[in-house]
Amino acid sequence: MRFQTRTSPHMVPGHSVGHLMRQVLYALIPGTLAMAWFFGWGVLVNVVLSVLFAVMFEALMVTLRRRPVGVTLGDSSAVLAGWLFALAIPPLTPVWVLLVGTGFAIVVAKHLYGGLGYNPFNPAMVGYVVVLVSFPRELSLWPSPQGLMEGPFTLWQTLQTTLTGRLPEGLDWDAITRASPLDMMRESLISGQTVHEITRSPVFGSFSQTEWEWAGNLFLLGGIWLMYRRVITWHIPMSMLLSLATIAGVFWVIDPDQFASPAFHVFSGAAIIGAFFIATDPVSAATTPLGRVLFGIGIGILVYVIRTWGGYPDGVAFAVLLMNMVAPTLDHYTRPRIFGHSGDGRG
């Protein structure tokens, strides 16, 4: 009797790449819904359109490179990249911004390097940073939550705004937008207010603006679930949040009027989603355990530096890209001690 030959092991593997990616997608759902609840249909429109575009670009590139389309799309990584990109940009962003962003993410950051597994930079963050530096106006317009809930922003109007880039009649950007907590902190500090005065504003919850806090909490939940499912390890999220909180804490203790509290930093902007969903992108992060810890610490510090002294209100995307840059070097120098070797792992 003849049998097929294959190399060991001969057991059913635990999971597949697509499986992994889909778990991340599930984990994103609660946070995404919370954001949609507070910021309106725009969030969902963004997600749907970005995912659509991302998958489209992926299919396009795979076809151009004459690789199997089915297998590639089956891994869902493009869906995830599109989704994360969508969460980074404000709702009601015009459709061309989505196109450019996802295009850069999938075409330049991913497929020019050979597609899944080869990109040294986080595709979604490349896409986000590209549109951030190219269309700063569109990217700084976060609608204010109350305005949307009270106002007449239906799904239809949202789509209209997104597709045309123009607001419906009678609405004005200045009227419907409100600074996000980080913007507010920055602006007010520039104009000489103290942290204390800023956080006393009625829209602030315990740490940050209430709706951001809620979205953050739900992303945190998703992240913890991912850790529990072992899709991600604790190294990056924990070290990143801890280092962010630590450095924020140090400055906060030094001068609480000028520097916001650690809790504010952790719960504002993209810190939580960044820690659990973005910095953990396995492809572009460091891969050794120690490397991952350093990677997370690096991101935490850079986020703080860019937020506090830099020219952009949030620094998560930049920090991730900057640390992506360092990751190969980190991997090179943080090899674990091999069994039976003394000292470090090299040689």
Binding site: V100, V133, S134, P136
Partner: protein
Amino acid sequence: MITSGYADIIREGLWTNNPGLVQLLGLCPLLAISGTVINALGLGLATIATLLISNTLVSLLREHVRPEIRIPVYVLIIASAVTAIELVMNAWFHGLFLVLGIFIPLIVTNCAIIGRAEAFASRNSVPRAALDGLAMGVGFTGVLVTIGALREIVGQGSLLDNAQLLFGEWGRDLRIEIFPQEHGFLLALLPPGAFLAMGLLIAVKNLIDARLEARPIAAPAAAPETAPTQS
């Protein structure tokens, strides 16, 4: 290389051994000064002039220079030429001079120039060296202007903006607006845009080369390929 004819020299400079795309030399000005066509052209012309002068002089002197001071002498020649050009630009193209800034004196360290002096001019006759300088310079400028055009169009929707800096007041009318500036894709004007444009250009060149190479080979290769399927 020493035996190559004039046509080869030109082909080398413009395409096969293009300083920017193939040798990857002189990258700094190539990326820094390629925000607009006019800037690119201005620096390109200055570079052509320097290459011409330096290649000619080096070729003239090639038999009189001892090896141990070869490089320093070349550097001196280039530096003198560049300084003279810088002064001339400062006097007659002051606006352009200010825009190009530090990159005019930095022509001295444009690796393409000293590279040509060393690799070609020091081994070839004056006319050949001069032609090589011209070809390399034009090749370099070609890349510079292409990137400049690319970035200017994508970044601010115009072409030949600020042409007055190079051509005097009448140059203002040369500006071609393709779309209004506020729709520009800012990335193209920022540093990353320069790198990306350059990477794209190199890839396009590779693609063209591959096509060129594939064409003559494709015909004979087809025959043996079909043979086994028939049998």
